[in-house]
Amino acid sequence: MITAPYLVVIGGSAGGLQPILTLLPGLAASLNAAIIIVLHRQSHYESVLTELLSAKSSLPVREAAEKEPLERGVIYIAPADYHLLIESDHTLSLDYSEKVNFSRPSIDVTFTSAAIAYGNKLTALLLSGANTDGTEGLIDVHETGGTTAVQDPATADVDYMPRQAIQLAPVDIILQPQEMATFINKMAGV
């Protein structure tokens, strides 16, 4: 099976759901990339989240399953209470190890493993949030040649996470929520 040639990984925490709901309807059906969403949340909201995002998107949305190959045009949600990693053969792995930045799934864990697996074919987008998860991951994405993007803190419900990233990581572009879909389409070869 031919896996997705490009990958876009989106990480968000408190206030991260809103920009995701804004960008989903604008994604092109001809996307040449797989999309992974890592969103901090309580494990109880699990199935609700996939349904909620599915309703906003014309692309298929599903919870990431272990060993699943990444397909173009599919949106994968990191399951609650597991870290989501990307193998170099572009399949998915789950991991129930210690929390990172008090979080599982951790955005750093997914960003970093995606950086190793996808190199310059990767785009990472960090959204609103109240902790420092994602910053280290963005540094790794940049180092392997990927593109780093962060939500404009002025538009974020909780601006700590994007502000922290802009201060400490090499950020290529700062985006308003309504610009995100166009940006992703462009990065994903549409």
Binding site: A65, E66, K67, P79, Y82, L85, I86, E87, S88, S93, L94, D95, Y96, S97, E98, V109, T112, S113, A115, I116, A117, E136, I139, D140, E143, T144
Partner: protein
């Protein structure tokens, strides 16, 4: 990369060293997770270079043991996924009750929190006296912790909540004695648990069981190794025995699928229907 100094190729060199020198085989683990842990240990132990890391592992058996214990994941909690334990209470225990003697294998049990959880279920169903639980793991130090049955007191609030959500009706704190920041679980729960080392990659079957529990272990293996281990479980189960996996693990698309039938609820419990 600045923080990930060791490449996937270098990690496989290390894994080959550990296999050849010490007999622990991690070469069929899913690479992303093991790479992350090998890199993490490299940073925590502050090695100046990959060469020194490798030399230490090759030349120092005590350090090699640390390496083995640190790159395997030992995170666990009591009554993890309460609905899973609820399903064990309602669908599995009544069947186990019909046997004169109950043999259970909990594979990859880490520090044993889930083993004690299951012992509590057996106790409440009045089955513990005729049961034995073999709790195994590759890692000898975590087994030692399990044997002691001492866990952090700070976790007990969460565990008590999980216990109640799983359908528990007793006072959860009656199962342990609190002492400073630790909770020691009652001796009668531990009496029927045999903690013992077993390596799923290299060791074979050692008994026939009516229930095998192996949760969040297969996710660390590649497909080939998953298949091998599932066949080991299948061979170690009696006809109509139960196999219970983690909430994101499945028998679908594996070589043992046709031998098993999933219980009619959404929990990850299968029954062996074909020898």
């Amino acid at each position: 990369m600045s923080r990930n100094l060791i490449s996937e190729q270098e990690v496989s060199l290390l894994l080959n060293d550990v296999l050849e020198r010490y007999g622990y085989d991690f070469t069929e683990y899913a690479p992303a997770s093991i790479n992350r842990r090998v890199n993490h240990l490299f940073q925590v132990d502050r090695f100046p270079s990959f060469a020194e890391y490798r030399y230490r592992i090759i030349s120092d058996p005590a350090y090699a043991l640390r390496f083995v214990e640190e790159i395997t994941v030992n995170v666990t909690e009591m009554f993890r996924d309460p609905s899973f334990y609820q399903a064990l209470r309602t669908h599995v225990l009544p069947v186990l009750a019909t046997y004169p003697f109950i043999r259970i294998w909990h594979a990859g049990c880490a520090t044993g929190e889930e083993v004690y959880s299951f012992a509590i279920l057996l106790k409440e169903a009045k089955l513990l006296h005729k049961a034995v639980i073999y709790a195994t793991d590759i890692n000898a130090s975590v087994l030692e912790k399990g044997r002691k049955g001492i866990f952090r007191l700070s976790q007990m609030q969460q565990y008590s909540r999980n216990y109640m959500e799983s359908g528990g009706r007793e006072d959860f704190s009656s199962y342990y004695t609190a002492n400073y920041e630790y909770a020691k679980f009652r001796e009668d729960l531990g009496e029927k648990i045999i903690f013992s080392p077993h390596n799923l990659v290299t060791d074979g079957s050692f008994n026939e069981f009516q229930l095998i529990i192996c949760r969040n272990v297969l996710i660390y293996f590649n497909k080939k190794l998953q298949d091998r281990v599932l066949n080991l479980f299948s061979d170690s189960l009696e006809q109509l025995g139960f196999l219970a996996l983690g909430s994101k693990e499945t028998l679908n698309f594996t070589s043992v699928t046709r031998k098993f039938k999933q219980l009619e609820n959404r929990e990850k419990i299968w029954r062996k229907v074909q020898l």
